[in-house]
Each structure stands twice: as C-alpha cells, then as structure tokens.
C-alpha cells in the first residue's frame, strides 16, 4: 500500500511537470468521455424513456457505472499495458524489484490526467441524485465501491490474459471498456441472454444495475430474484478471487521474451 502510494505520487508529479500537456490531457479525457453523455442527451430528445427508464434514471446508471470505472481505471487501469512491458522486456525489471509486480504495474505511469474522466462521471451522477430517495441513499457509496472492485478485477483478468496473448492486448478492451459502456444504459435495453451472461458469468450487472434497481425501487424487468440486488459485495469478492488466481497463474507461467 505504501509502495503503491509512493510510486503513484512520483508518477503523478512527473506527469504534472509539463503543465500545459497535463491540463490538455485532463480536459481531453473529460471531453472524450463526455461524448457518451451527450449521446444519451441526444437520444432523450427523441424519447422520454429508454428501456423503461427516464433520463435522470439513466444518468444515475451512467454516473455510478462511470464513476466506478474511472476510479478503477485511475488506480489500477495501467495494468492493461502489461503486454507492452512484456514485449519491451521492462516487465523483467519489475520482477526483480522488492515490490509486488502488480503494485508496480498498477502504479506505472499513474495517470492523474484521468481525473478528467472521473470529474465527468461525478458531474453526471451529481445531476442525477434527485432520483435517489434518502432512505436508500446508503446503497450509492456501497455500489460504487463494489463497482471499483469489479472493474479492477476485470482489468486484472484482462492483464492475466495478456500473459498468454501477448500480441492481442486489445481483446481485454471488449470487457473493460465494453463493460463500462454496457453499464451506462439500463440493462433492460439489451437482450435477455446478454443480461443473463453479465449477471452469472461476467458479473457486470452487479456494478450498478442490480443495486440501482433497489435504489430506484424498480422490479427486475427479467424477473430475477430480489436478493441479487444486495449481492454486489459477494460478486465483487468472487470475481476478485478469480482475478487474483488468474494473475498468479499468469505470473507463474511467464517466461521472459529473452531480450
């Protein structure tokens, strides 16, 4: 933990040295991610509800999913660059240092510029808060923390996959960036099979969909069991355990490229 903070702080200071560049990257990460929100706004100029959810409710889903992802991406997202490090041979140096390679990878090039994405999601979430009743507001921080854990686990699984598929790191994007795109809309717009898949296989439904059904007081459009709404912490723990195992297995299997 201390190692992580030290490394992250060092990298953040390094990236803030070039002030103009730093400011440009914060603003551009804000703007690029805001495009999705603008798209939702444009969609709602044509309809009043999408998949049975109002604009504010969709913004709540977008905000919680986006904020969880932005935090996971800022804190651990760098792990997705594993294949670059393997190919360049720089991963080998990490292995001989007295700090866990996971921590080194996560903190490597710590991108404080990703604050842009964070700010964008936080603003949308803030605007959506009037739909949250006081008595159920306690769930919001819980779901965000669980979301961060789930996305971090997905990032880690993607990185573990890169131990095997060094040449195809983009495969993981389908689950990480695809995952956050999925959680930005109500799952009721997607097909039944897809929703069951992200409930029982890759548990992205627990990032925000299931807990949000509780917060917004909605029946499950697919008629899944009510207790699932409170299962996010369990899903997050299970997926983290799987990710930790995969990461370790990958690390054990790793053979240097030899350069």
């Amino acid at each position: 933990m201390g190692d992580y903070l030290l490394l992250a702080w060092t990298w953040a200071r390094a990236s803030a040295q070039y002030r103009a560049s730093f400011a440009v990257s914060i603003v551009s990460s804000f703007a690029i991610n805001a495009l999705d929100a603008v798209a939702i706004g444009i969609v709602f100029t044509h309809v009043t509800t999408l998949g049975g959810f109002s604009l504010r409710e969709v913004m709540f889903l977008y905000g919680t999913g986006g904020l969880s992802f932005a935090l996971a991406d800022m804190l651990f997202g760098n792990i997705e660059r594993l294949s670059q490090h393997i190919r360049a041979g720089t991963f080998d140096t990490m292995l001989i240092r007295p700090v866990s390679p996971f921590v080194q990878m996560a903190a490597d090039g710590f991108g404080a510029h990703r604050i842009g994405r964070l700010a964008q999601a936080a603003i949308v979430l803030g605007l959506s808060l009037p739909v949250v009743p006081w008595s159920r507001a306690w769930m919001v921080p819980v779901m965000i923390v669980c979301g961060v854990v789930i996305f971090t686990a997905v990032f880690t699984l993607g990185a573990a996959l890169q131990f095997v598929l060094v040449d195809a790191p983009e495969l993981a994007n389908a689950f990480t960036y695809g995952g956050v795109t999925l959680t930005q809309y109500p799952l009721s717009v997607y097909g039944d099979q897809l929703v069951r898949g992200v409930t029982y296989v890759v548990p992205l439904a627990f990032v925000n969909w299931q807990p949000a059904l509780y917060v917004l007081g909605r029946p499950d459009p697919l008629g899944l069991a009510d207790w699932l709404r409170f299962a996010s912490p369990a899903a997050a723990l299970l997926l983290s355990a799987a990710a930790a195992l995969a990461w370790r297995a990958g690390l054990r299997r790793y053979r240097s490229t030899g350069n």
Binding site: Y18, A20, S21, V24, S25, S28, A31, I32, L35, D36, V38, A39, I42, V43, T45, H46, V47, T49, L50, G51, L165, D167, A168, P169, E170, L171, N173, A174, Y177, G178, T181, L182, Y185, V189, Y190, G191, L194
Partner: protein, 260 residues
Amino acid sequence: MADFVLYLRLFQYGFRRHSTYLAAALAGAFTNTVFGVLRAYVLIALWQARPGLAGYTLTEAVTFCFLTQGFIGPMQVFGRGLSFGDRIRSGDIAFDLVRPAPLLLWSLSEDLGRAAYLTIARSLPPAIAGAVMFTLAGPASPWFVLSFVLGIVVSFGWRYLVTLAACWTTDDRGTHTLSALLTMFFSGMVLPLGLFPGWLRTVAESSPFAAMVQVPADVWLGAEAAWSTLGFQLLWALALLGLGALLTAAARRKVVVQGG
C-alpha cells in the same frame, strides 16, 4: 509508369506492414463486434420507441451500427495520426520532405494499403457477426465501393493535416485528441447524424467527418442519391488533399535542418 509502380509498391508495403499483426487485428475486430452489439441494442430500443426516426427503419438502424463499427479500422475513426508523426518528432521528416516522391502521395499510398488490410481483418468480422446475430440490410447501390474508398481518402486527408500540424506545435497530443473528438462525434460514429438536433445536424452533415462514416453508410442503405453524396465526398477529398499539399510546401520552408 515508373511512378505508378512506386506507389503500387508503397501500397503493398502498407498492406504487408499491418498484416504482420494479425492477432492484434483480430482482437480489434472482436472488440469492435462487442461494441457493435451493445450499440445495436441501444439503437433497437430507440427505434422500437420511435420507428422511422432519422428516416431509417429498425433494420437500417442496426445495419448502420455494424457498418460504422466496420469503418473504425479503415477510416481510423479514433483519429490516430499517420506513421510519419514519429519522424516529425525525431526530425527525420527533413529527409521525407526532400524525397523525389511527394510526402502526400507517398503516405496516401501507404495508408490505402493499411486500409485495404484492415478492411479484410477488422471490417468484415464485425459485419459478418452482426449479420449472424441481427437482421441487416444488404447494399442498396454498387456505388458503395467507391464511396467507401472516398471515405478512406477523406479520412487520410484529415489525418495528414493533423499529423503535419506537429511541425508547428511542440506537443501533438492536444491536436490528436481534438481530432479524435471531432471525428468520433461529427462522423456519425457516436449516433447517426440524423438524430442530431437542428443546427448541430446541419454542421455535422456538411463536415468532412460526415464524408468518412455517415455518407458511405447512407450509400449502402440507399438513403440518398449516390451522385450527390459521392460529389460531396469528392469535394472534401480534393479540398483536404489540396490543403495538405499547401501545408507540405509550408513545412518544407519551415523545417530547419540543424547541421550534424
């Protein structure tokens, strides 16, 4: 004739250079497909609520989605610059500017080679997967092929300007992000331009970005007369390439070779 052989060879090199990374291209195709499926469901929900929106039927809207996912690779919708960007940073661009073959045509041939490869590796898989999972509309007009190529040329013309701008700016990240932002939003990649409100729609539809994604997709769907849309694309292609030639000449005067 000799010129033609040179450019043909550069085209082949562009093709071959990218074909080395087959696994990467297939991974990209998979990701493009996943995003295509997610976008398709959102559009389906929208079109079920408002059939006939933007002049598309539901099938056409889903077709639009998978066509545009297929354009990401060849048209470089995420705004990635051309490969000589690195050479501007290192200073090697000075050699490229004095070669007997003009930089513009040189990199155009290479980029067309790249696009040809990515069409096979990154455009066909999402389109085929989309056709298996959903009902898609077939091409309405044989002019689509020409429109597709023109879309790539317009995209090249734009990226050439963005890349060459690095001769004047010290940090090219800002311009690249701005380019990615404009291209994604105004091309129709985020949403079909027909959904945009009033003036924003007018601006987007007359921009060069529309010529990269929205127009070729509309030619496929037969949404508009082919000759006027092709003319629109041709106009933008010529304008951007012309600007590119002017900017290259300016860069030639600007670049100072520091002895050595």
